[in-house]
């Protein structure tokens, strides 16, 4: 590949804090996820009522994506050329358990489409795509650990085969109240940006 891929912007959400490009952007005294993410939603003044219908995983993904995209100059890249490649550990298990509870008892049987639709890991990419009108490539991986190499291999190839001009990537995991979002936008030739490689992605992930 002739062009160098760069990380245009990145966000990290964990421990009731959100950092963007390595700098703290929002922090909350709320230890629990729900009040924390609601506080973040208000802080960024999103005005997006659909947010309140989403499950925790999608809320986490939405906020993480929002701040990355806000800090990324996408120039005149067509939204049909912006991909979304996400990875996590627990897939949608948090919501899977909730759906399972609605069907465990025949006496108290109440499966709901509003819940069931969130029992897929890629719905978070769908929610981000709807909000930002990104119509490019989609991929959702499940892995035991943050796997920089898998994403790097896959995304570099999307660029090499000219299927994307920009790609929102990252790790968004929610499981039994523990949560973590590390998202980054990969683009081409933004000379001042960081190079997109395994080492850089791991540094972003491991930064305290």
């Amino acid at each position: 590949m002739s062009e160098t891929l760069k990380i245009v912007s990145h966000s990290v959400i964990r421990n009731s804090s959100i950092s963007v490009n390595g700098k703290m952007d929002f922090t909350s005294g709320e230890k629990d996820f729900k009040p924390f993410i609601k506080g973040a939603f208000r802080h960024y003044d999103l005005k997006y009522p659909k947010f309140f219908k989403m499950d925790n995983l999608c809320k986490l993904a939405m906020i993480g994506a929002e701040v990355v995209i806000k800090h990324s100059d996408l120039g005149n890249i067509s939204k049909e050329r912006i991909g979304i490649v996400l990875l996590n550990r627990a897939s949608s298990l948090e919501t899977d358990r909730a759906h399972q509870k609605t069907i465990d008892s025949r006496e108290n049987y109440f499966p709901s489409p509003a819940l069931f639709v969130y029992t897929l890991a890629n719905i978070m990419a769908g929610e981000i795509a709807i909000k930002h009108k990104f119509q490019g490539e989609n991929m959702s991986f499940v892995s035991s650990d943050f796997d920089a190499e898998l994403t790097q291999n896959y995304v570099a190839n999307l660029f090499a085969t000219n299927k994307v001009e920009a790609c929102l990537c990252g790790w968004v995991d929610f499981d039994e109240e523990s949560y973590e979002s590390v998202q980054y936008l990969v683009g081409v030739n933004k000379s001042k940006n960081t190079i997109f490689d395994n080492q850089t992605i791991n540094e972003i992930y491991n930064a305290k």
Binding site: R89, D96, I103, N122, A129, I130, F134, N138, L150
Partner: protein, 370 residues
């Protein structure tokens, strides 16, 4: 290929030639409180087959299916599954979701409901040293997994990729689709005027892709995916997303729409999915190409769908024959389609395979016989 139609590819092809569906009425209160139709793998046959698996009872039903399917696939080729140049890729939406049920009595640790745990258990069975990749992207998982395998081989990351897809007709899934009122009251009828929803199926299928032809003449020549950016549980009303995915696959494969001999479409038999596909295929100018949906044979098999349908398409190419779109009688899409209404012999050199799913995702792949 493992589904209600059998435990290997030959059994499937025989039934496809006879246009025989595996969908049957199902009155199992453990799966759903009222009777419905589904495509279910023969349990007594699985109980016989599982003796081919070492310590079979230490694996879940889906893991057993994966092991049997992979064994059947790799037994037909000369390949070292223990090589670091061989990658296992799993395509699944829900994996061992049956483990979450309160009434689950199988004795397998619930941590195997984590998709990567299932993948590791199965790849370890075969002694493969590489961390397996799990693709879980709703109903396009299988097509995406095959496209990724092609990319990874072309990028020289691996020499061989074993792509396996599986999902169960679990209570979890059936109850969810029922709550959407997405399940047909009868047998699913893709593209038909009276179609009224999907039929759930369970299946497991494996495709072996290699940088060496290994005697095969079928090439995965191009792939693409997209998002409608429109709705999380309903397809695009225009078909623009599916059209873009197909265009990317065709561009990569350097295939013109006039070269396509057969479309193995998604065809879930919901009103809106099939409508959307008809619009996309008309936009692409491929509405006259013979098209089927395999869902009328084995139902919608979710994470297995792309894999088993690409496998069936490859047989269609090898045998130069087209299989009837089971359940179809009279066209019922707003734009015309050339739905295959009977088994026929025809030269099949180029196939377009498509899939669309929840989350607004679409994927396409082009298979070329060289």
């Amino acid at each position: 290929m493992i589904s209600s139609l059998g435990f290997n590819s030959a059994e499937h092809i025989e039934k496809l030639r006879q246009s025989k569906s595996g969908i049957k009425p199902c009155d199992d209160a453990l799966l759903y409180p009222t009777p419905f139709q589904a495509s279910i793998i023969d349990e007594s046959r699985l109980n016989e087959m599982k003796y081919e698996i070492d310590s079979a009872d230490s694996y879940t039903k889906l893991e057993q299916l994966h092991i049997l399917s992979i064994k059947d696939c790799v037994s037909q080729v000369n390949i070292d599954v223990t090589s670091g140049r061989t990658l296992f890729v799993f395509s699944t939406t829900k994996g061992n979701i049956d483990l979450l049920a309160e009434n689950y009595t199988g004795g397998i640790n619930v941590k195997r409901a984590y998709l990567h745990e299932m993948a590791k258990v199965v790849s370890k069975y075969f002694g493969n040293p590489v961390n397996p990749v799990v693709v879980s992207n709703a109903c396009i998982s299988g097509v995406l997994a095959v496209n990724m395998a092609k990319d990874f081989i072309e990028a020289d990351l691996y020499d061989n990729v074993i792509v396996t897809g599986g999902d169960l007709a679990a209570e979890f899934t059936i109850s969810g689709f029922q709550s959407f009122k997405a399940i047909s009251e009868t047998h699913c009828k893709p593209y038909d005027i009276v179609r009224d929803g999907i039929t759930i199926g369970e299946a497991c299928s494996t495709i072996f892709l290699s940088k060496n032809p290994n005697g095969s003449t079928i090439l995965i020549a191009g792939g693409g995916s997209s998002n409608d950016a429109n709705h999380i549980s309903g397809p695009s009303r225009t078909g623009d997303g599916l059209m873009m995915a197909c265009e990317k696959a065709m561009n990569e494969a350097k295939i013109e729409s006039s070269n396509i001999d057969f479309i193995s479409a998604h065809g879930t038999a919901t009103v809106y999915n099939d409508e959307m596909e008809s619009k996309a295929f008309n936009w692409l100018g491929i509405q006259n190409v013979p098209l089927n949906s395999f869902k009328g044979y084995w139902g919608h098999t979710l994470g297995a769908a792309g894999i088993i349908e690409i496998a069936a398409s490859a047989h269609s190419m090898q045998n130069n024959e087209l299989y009837k779109s089971a359940g179809f009688e009279k066209i019922g899409t707003p734009e015309p389609l050339n739905v295959i209404d009977s088994y026929q012999k025809k030269k099949v050199d180029v196939v377009l395979k498509t899939a669309s799913g929840f989350g607004g995702c679409n994927a396409a792949t082009i298979l070329v016989k060289g």
